[in-house]
Amino acid sequence: MAKLVFMGRLEDAAGTGEMSVAPGPIEMILAALDPALAVQLLGEKVRMALNGALLTDMGGVVLAEGDELAFLPPVSGG
């Protein structure tokens, strides 16, 4: 399995901080989610990181077994 991670407000939107999904193209994984959640995950301010490295473009990303894809909304530290 692969793992999706939802940080910040996206955790509330997803109702969970982590979700196991079958490996495969990211477009297919998002298409299987609740559409309301998918819209939030694809928001323009949301960045994505695959195994801890920021993605510049999610096009063509395919999750393999053990991969972790994190959805990162705007940060607010300090």
Binding site: M7, G8, R9, N51, P74, V75, S76, G77, G78
Partner: protein, 147 residues
């Protein structure tokens, strides 16, 4: 070597500052910044969330860049994650340098980047429940000062 830590439990800022100061007897100036949970607006608790694969590595990179930019002899960046209550320390930045201006600038630069570029998400709890805090436009403006 900068001292960069992510604290999952409460830390004692006074003890940290004392230890840092003792480590750099040759520094003529030490600037410290402490951010704490403010006791106002009915805030009962504050939670900072981090993402383990990225948060500490990002803080370490920030410390590296800060030290490249200013001639500091010592740098401490300590940031809490988890649930805090008013009065709890959130973040401590200490910069030690031969001359004060470098210490002020290094601490200021590190704080601006911690606020708007580090991997933390913040929510606060009031009588109405938990609410996520979105970054303020001022935080982005603070960042733009550094070019």
């Amino acid at each position: 070597m900068p001292d960069v830590r992510l604290a999952l439990e409460a830390f004692d800022p006074a003890a940290e500052i004392a230890a840092f100061t003792a480590r750099y007897p040759n520094a003529g100036g030490i600037v410290t910044f402490l951010g704490q949970v403010r006791d106002s607006g009915g805030v009962e608790a504050l939670e900072l969330q981090h993402y383990a694969p990225m948060t500490l590595p990002g803080m370490e990179e920030l410390a590296r860049v800060t030290q490249v930019r200013w001639p500091v002899e010592g740098l401490l960046i300590l940031h809490r994650s988890g649930v805090m209550v008013p009065g709890d320390a959130i973040v401590l930045v200490c910069a030690a340098a031969r001359h004060r201006r470098d210490a002020f600038a290094a601490a200021d630069f590190a704080m601006d980047h911690l606020k708007s570029e580090s991997w933390f998400w913040k929510r606060e709890k009031t009588a109405k429940g938990w609410r996520w805090i979105e970054p303020r436009p001022e935080d982005r403006e603070d960042l733009s000062r550094w070019g």
